[in-house]
Amino acid sequence: MCGRSGSGKTTLLKLLKKQLAPYGERTGDIFVLGKKIEEQSEQESVTAVGFVMQNSNTSIVTETVWRELAFGLESLGKSSDEIRRKTAEISVYFGLEPIYNKKTEYLSGGERQIVNLASVMLHEPEILLLDEPTSRLDTISAKKLISHIIRLNRELGTTVIISEHYTDDIFSYANRVILLEKGKLIENSHPKHISQNFSEIFLPTSARIHRAISPNANEILVTSAEIRRYILDNYTITKNIMPISSQPEQNNENILKIRNIYFRYSKNESDILTNLSLDVKKGEIFSIIGSNGSGKSTLLKIILGTEKIYSGFYKRSKKIKISMLPQDPREIFFKSTVEEDLLSVCDNKERISDICEFLGISELMSRHPYDLSGGEQQKTALAKILLTSPDIILLDEPTKAMDFESRQSVISIIRNLKKSGVTQIIVTHDTRTASECSDRCAFLFNKNIVSIDEPKRFFSQLTYFTTPEAQIARGIFQNAVTMSDVVEMCRKNNIK
C-alpha cells in the first residue's frame, strides 16, 4: 500500500483490526475472512489479524523479550506449557534465541521490530498488517525484517498488507499494489502492470531509473538485477566513470578537531567509541553513517558537550555555537503553538517570519507542535534551532520515518543552509540522504570511523551498506551513487 503521508494508509489499516479501529463515522462494510467486522468476536479479531506498528519502541509493552513474546498468549489464557513451547518455537524461527532473556531497552531498533513481528505472529494470524514497519530502520535491518515477512507469506501463506514509502525491497514480492490519494483508492493492480500515471515516487529505484531513461517503456522493472540487465543489454558502455565535480577549494580551516577520543557511559560498561579522530571543515556538510546503535548519536552528544570523553582530545571553543536537531523533534517543543514556541528563543518577529518562509512552514504558526506531521515537526524544530544562529548544526537522523517528498524538502533545506555558511554534521542510517546532500561522508563501525571520503567515491566503494542506486551501478558506472548520476551516465552512453 502506497500513498503520501496523510493519504489515509494508517486509517485504512487500523480499520481492518477491530481493536484499533479509529472512532468516527463509517459507512460501508468491511469483511475480514468472510465475516463482517462488527460480527467478529473480540477473540477472533485478536487472533485472525496481526498488526505491526511503525514505532518499534512504543509498541513494546514489557521489560524482557520473553515476556513480550508471552504477552499475547497470556491474554488468550494459554497454559504455561503451551506458551513455553510456542515462544521457544517462534524464537528459533525468527532467530531470537541470543536475545531471548535480554531487557527490551537494550535492543536495537531492528531487533525490536523483529520482536514485535514475532510476538504478533504467535497468534498465528491469517492476515498480517504492517504500518511502515521499516521506516525507522537502517537499510540492513530493514532488509532483514522484510525477508522475515516474505518468508511468512511464502511458507505459511499469511496474507500480508504492508504500507511503505520506499518500495525497493518489497515491490518485486507484492501480488498487488494499491495507491491511496487523499483517502481514495486510485490504483489497484499487479506491480508489473502499473499504469503510467502511477506516481514515480512510490516506485522502486529500478523502475524509476527505467522510466527516466526510457519514458515510453510499458514494462516495470522491479528489481536491481532487472535494471542492471536492461542497462547492459541496451547500452554500449563507453564512458563508465562519473566525473567527480571538484568543488571550489573551500577554506580548509577546521572548525572541529577531535583526536583519539574514548567514550563509555559508565565504568562498568564497554566502550562506545575508541580512539576516534575527526576533523570537520568550516562550512561543509559532513555525514556520518552507520547502523542503528553504532554510536552515531553518542558522537553527536560528545561534540555538543553533553557527554564527556574519558580520554583523548576534544575541546569545544566558546566562540563557536553548536546546536542540535534531536532525533525526536518533540523534545524541544515547550509551548502550545508553533509561534509561541519560536518566540521563546527569539523575539525578532521579522527574523522568525524570514526563517519560516525559508523552511516553508509559515502557515503552521497557530498549530500545536504535536499536531504536525513528522516532516513539519522536523522543519519547525529546525526553525527553532536556526533562530539561535548557530555556527554548527548537528542533525540527528533528520529524515527518519519521512515520506519521499518531505525527505526531499529536508535535503534541499540542508543544501540551502550550506550557502549561508553554516557547518552541518548529519548522522543518519539513510544512505540516500547522506549521498545526496553531503560534502564528505564517514562510516562509523565498531566504535570507530573506518573511512572518510567524498560521497560519490565513498558510496561507490561500498557494496552492501550503500544506496540502492550505487548497487545498481556497481561494476557498470563508477562513482554513480544517486538516481540523477545513474540517469546522467546512461544518457552519456549510446543506445545499442
Binding site: 514489557t62 497470556e74 491474554s75 488468550l76 532473556n101 553533553t306 548537528l394
Partner: protein
C-alpha cells in the same frame, strides 16, 4: 550494546517461591527470636554469603558497617535507662550495662537484616517477583512489567530532553523538561495501548507465564524450609529460646531442645553459603579439568 556484569549468585537459581519463603523465614527469625545465638548464627551466615557472592572484601565497607553498628550500640543506652547494672551517670541519668548490650545486640540484628535484604534484592529479581504475584493477580503482573519497561525509557527520554534543551542554548528549566517528558510519554502511551489491545489485553481469562519451572529439587527445598521453620517456631512457643535483656541479662538458654533449635537454624542460615561453595567448587573443578576458560554468565 550494554552488557552489565553482575555478581553471579548460585543460590538465586532456586525457584522463586521457596526462595522467597526462605528469605522471609530467616529474616523474621533474626528479627523476632530475640535470641543472641540465633542472631549471631544468622549474622555469620549472611556475611559468608555476601563474601562468597561478591568474591571480595572491601575495607571501606567493613569500616562503614562497624561505625554504623557502634553508633547504634552507643545511642541505645543514652535513651534507654532500664537495667540494673549502672555503669555511670550522664546528666543525672544512669547509663546501664544492659542497655549497652541491648544496643549492641540490636546493631547486629539490623546489620544482619540489611545483609539478608541485600542478598534478597540480588536473588529476587523483578522476574521472580512478577512470577509470584502473577500466579494470583495476572493483571498486576502486567502492570509491574509495564512500569519496569517505562522507568528506564522515561529516564532516558528525560536526559535527551535536557540535552536537547542545552543544545538550544537556553537556560535549563527542569520543570518544563518534565512537562515535555509527560506530554511525549502520554502521546507514546497511545501507541503502547494500541499494541496491547491488538494483542488481546482486553480479553478475560489472562494467565501468567514465567520461565520458572517448579522442580522436585525446589519442592524438597520448600519442605526442608517448612520443617525447620516448624521446629524453631515450636521451640519459641514453648519458651525454650527465651532470653531477656531487662531488667538484668538472663542466661543464654542451652538446654537440649534449645541447642537442637540452634543447629536447625544454623543449617537453614548456612544454606546460601553452602550452595555457593558447592556450585563454585564443582564449576571450577570441571573447567580446570577440561581446560575451559572461565566465563562469567551475562545477564
Amino acid at each position: 550494546m550494554i552488557i552489565i556484569m553482575q555478581n553471579e549468585c548460585a543460590f538465586s537459581k532456586i525457584h522463586p517461591l521457596p526462595l522467597f519463603m526462605w528469605f522471609v523465614s530467616v529474616i523474621s527469625f533474626t528479627v523476632l527470636a530475640m535470641n543472641p545465638i540465633i542472631v549471631i548464627i544468622s549474622f555469620i551466615g549472611a556475611v559468608a554469603h555476601r563474601i562468597l557472592v561478591s568474591k571480595k572484601i572491601s575495607v571501606k565497607s567493613i569500616i562503614g558497617n562497624a561505625v554504623f553498628m557502634m553508633m547504634i550500640t552507643i545511642i541505645n543506652p543514652l535513651f534507654s535507662h532500664h537495667g540494673v547494672t549502672e555503669l555511670f551517670f550522664l546528666g543525672g541519668l544512669p547509663v546501664t550495662l544492659e542497655a549497652l548490650i541491648f544496643g549492641f545486640f540490636m546493631s547486629i540484628v539490623i546489620q544482619t537484616s540489611i545483609l539478608w535484604c541485600l542478598s534478597m534484592s540480588e536473588c529476587m529479581t523483578s522476574d521472580k517477583i512478577i512470577h509470584l504475584i502473577g500466579k494470583i493477580f495476572p493483571k498486576i503482573a502486567v502492570l509491574i512489567s509495564l512500569i519496569l519497561r517505562f522507568i528506564p525509557l522515561m529516564k532516558d527520554k528525560y536526559k535527551r530532553i535536557i540535552d536537547s534543551q542545552t543544545a538550544l542554548g537556553e537556560p535549563i528549566s527542569y520543570l518544563s523538561a518534565f512537562s515535555v517528558l509527560v506530554s511525549i510519554f502520554l502521546e507514546d502511551s497511545i501507541d503502547t495501548a494500541d499494541s496491547m489491545k491488538s494483542r488481546g489485553a482486553e480479553l478475560k481469562n489472562r494467565t501468567n507465564y514465567s520461565n520458572f519451572k517448579f522442580s522436585p529439587k525446589d519442592f524438597c527445598f520448600l519442605i526442608f524450609d517448612v520443617i525447620i521453620c516448624a521446629v524453631i517456631i515450636i521451640s519459641i512457643k514453648k519458651g525454650c529460646l527465651n532470653f531477656s535483656f531487662y531488667p538484668s541479662i538472663s542466661e543464654i538458654p542451652t538446654e537440649n531442645s534449645a541447642c537442637f533449635s540452634y543447629i536447625m537454624f544454623a543449617i537453614l542460615a548456612f544454606v546460601p553459603a553452602a550452595v555457593e561453595v558447592i556450585f563454585w567448587t564443582r564449576f571450577v573443578s570441571i573447567s580446570s579439568v577440561l581446560n575451559i576458560p572461565m566465563k562469567k554468565q551475562k545477564h
